[in-house]
Amino acid sequence: MTEPAQKKTPLYDEHVKHGAKMVPFAGWLMPVQYASIVEEHQTVRKNVGIFDISHMGQLIVDGNDARGWLNTMLTNNIDKLDVGQGQYTFLLTERGGIIDDLIAYRIGDEKFLLVVNASCTDQDLDWLSKHRRGDVKIDNRSTNFGGVAIQGPKVAELFVNLPARNHIVDLDLDGMPISMARTGYTGEDGVEVFFRASDAVKFWNMVLEKGKDLGIKACGLGARDTLRLEMCYPLNGSDLSPERNPIEAGLGIFVDLTKPNFTGRDVLLKTKENGPREKLVPFKMNDKVPPPRPHYSVFENGERIGEVTSGTLSPSLNWGVGMAYVNAQNTKIGSKIEIEIRGQKFPATIEKKPLYKKS
């Protein structure tokens, strides 16, 4: 089987010019790092960094029935959103399994922007189109739009009038119409900005120039992954899958079971009543040992109780951390577990979210 050609974001040439190491990710050629994942990670924790997120899907849902219909497709309650506000939410199968995790922004009375995972864009679009009802239009604007995440404590020094947390505003910046949302995937203050693909290079370079004195750095997917894992933000495909539901993933607060009707509701109600069989928990190694990695086995008192889904050496803590699905009766914070690494078991402890807290 031949690999399909990898797509390039409108910022591809900028990454290459910058010396990025480009890798295939979800059908796209993306920068995994420029010089050093650890340095990029620290830049976001201390100053500010910019990430290309043009690979992420952008779907517009529009029409007189958009709000009512979308609320039956997503787990969180979009009736709680004012125009200009967004929320983290899930798209589920009938069995409650996670198709995708996404942010839904209400950008008009009956108009929504869904920012979805790159690897799921086509699948989400198919699913939504198949279940479409009433006066609803679904438009995939992913290829015509680019996006960046600008993340770090100094982001407020880059832009005046940032939108409020989880809000999105339309702005004109130097002749470029953009949407700016106060959201992110790093645990730091930050924005995610969406613009026409034709403005991508101009916007990217403008931000790098403006941020020079703040120590801004272009950051890749490597740092994005370590930053999100320190915060215990899940990664679809690793921590989330159609075999897992949001309650097992410990993300029940993004599910509104008081809504009368949404796909997967019956299964989630049952999971909530009976308790999940397995739960996603964060953990930290007890000693300076090899970093945990996805698919390593988890043990307690010699018995296998689960499997690691995400793991790395946390650059902020300089310590091995991860997340694992384990038997629900073994999930108490402070519980001693063991991670099997190359045939040897190393002690670890189940922790509270997040794994990294700002001092």
Binding site: S36, V38, V289, P290, P291, R293, T312, L313, R342
Partner: protein
Amino acid sequence: MNIPDDLLYTESHEWIKREGDKIRVGITDHAQSELTDVVYVELPKMDRQANAKEAIAVVESVKAASDIYAPVKGTVIEVNKALEADPGLINREPFGQGWLFVLKIDNADDLKNLKDAAAYKKQIGG
């Protein structure tokens, strides 16, 4: 990319420095730049006997764990303990302080199977 002329190389990106009937082994500048940010090194056990191309050490970056292979048959007689405290030596000085282990080799003829600098340079497209 630095590829010293006086060293030998493997396809799996180890470098080899001959020191009499011993060889000193590390990973190349190219390999460390591909891995970047080495955060953990698992050294081989002393006195371990290894066959050529047998995985005997592990170098872990933020993103992944990579096996390191014995370039030829031999016995581990020295390991670089400094890497346990400072694995970043591999990134900073891949051909110097970042060496991994020393093997006493069984047969010097085995070294003929290794690449010289020109052949390794060709392999990595340098």
